[in-house]
């Protein structure tokens, strides 16, 4: 009785840190990422009111990335993100040496978001799952309910497309 009346908050909480991490990588700001978590949670609750996704993590990854890309497009169009003028209070201690400074990092995020926005949903999901979630092709295939060869094809094509979008960065001393 209660399962249809209350959304499965517990199940979402299991993945909330993943949702936050996906959003944060592309937005780079704590509160913007939290806003995305909140938006995705509301979508999750609405979806679960009808039917709970069979593969929750994959569903959440797709919805999160779509939301982030929408925000980045709005930001580019002139509607600034809420905390765009504030300094980011989370220190990027995980940034390795040689990572560009804050300004360039913001531009890099915008470039990456644009590049991801040009991909199809499956390509985007596979790329993020592989690069950021460090899943194996077999795990991704299970999550997406497709064959391993299909996942590999998506991955290669996604990398090729992103490669083209980020090509202008090769001229900055990163030439292969």
């Amino acid at each position: 009785m209660t399962s249809t009346m209350t959304p499965p908050t517990g199940e979402f909480e299991q993945y909330s840190s993943d949702v936050y991490a996906w959003a944060y990588r592309l937005l780079g700001r704590h509160h913007d990422a939290l806003d995305v978590v909140q938006d995705v949670y509301i979508k999750w609750a609405r979806q679960c009111a009808e039917v709970t996704p069979r593969r929750p993590r994959g569903w959440l990854r797709r919805v999160t990335l779509n939301r982030v890309i929408d925000l980045c497009r709005s930001s580019e169009a002139g509607t600034t993100l809420k905390s765009a003028n504030q300094t980011d209070e989370v220190v990027d201690r995980s940034a390795p040496e040689g990572v560009p400074d804050a300004m360039d990092q913001a531009q890099l995020r915008a470039d990456v978001a644009k590049a991801l926005g040009a991909l199809t949903d499956p390509q985007r999901g596979v790329l993020v799952a592989k690069v950021y979630d460090e899943m194996t092709f077999a795990q991704i295939a299970t999550e997406m309910d497709v064959s391993v060869s299909t996942v590999k094809t998506h991955y290669v094509r996604a990398v090729a497309a992103v490669r083209e979008k980020l090509r202008h960065r090769w001229g900055e001393g990163d030439k292969p």
Partner: protein, 158 residues
């Protein structure tokens, strides 16, 4: 344009899953095929650039708060009202903590003889009530701070 048969090997190489058995075939092909070699080199650079975006440091604690406020938002309370309630609760908690601590630190002589739990006498007598509140907090710190704050305020007024 990469060679179709080479695509799975390229995926494995770019994804860090190239097996020892496949390595000779892979390196032999990129040595011989310029376009596949370029695809591999530039693909590796693209993946490195993607990985250079740093991940978050703090995560779970705030996402729980966000989920809670999203639940409240779904019940009709707007986010601004939630923020106001949280602020009000924090002010009440601060007052309650102040009352409880001042009561705990400086008990009056009659406090030692009055009843342990809050009663009508305790409500009129702010000292024993504050001590009782402090003891409740010590016994069970997880009780709602807001409730304690409300008890303190309404109790003080009677």
């Amino acid at each position: 344009m990469i060679c179709t048969d080479f695509e799975p090997l390229l995926a494995d190489a770019l994804g860090g899953e190239l097996t020892a058995a496949d390595e000779p075939k892979f390196y032999a092909h990129i040595a011989a095929c310029a376009s596949c070699r370029t695809a591999y080199q530039e693909g590796s650079s693209a993946v490195s650039v993607l990985r250079s975006l740093p991940g978050p440091q703090r995560v779970a604690r705030d996402t729980d708060t966000v989920i809670g406020s999203a639940d409240a938002t779904k019940t009709g309370r707007p986010r601004a009202a939630n923020a106001l309630l949280r602020y009000a609760a924090s002010v009440l908690v601060a007052f309650a903590a102040g009352y409880a601590l001042s009561g705990a630190r400086t008990p009056s002589p009659q406090d030692r003889t009055t009843a342990q739990r809050p009663s009508q006498k305790g409500l009129a007598d702010g000292g024993s009530f504050r001590i009782a509140l402090a003891r409740v907090h010590q016994r069970n710190p997880s009780r709602s701070d807001l409730a304690k704050g409300m008890i303190t305020l309404f109790g003080a007024r009677r």
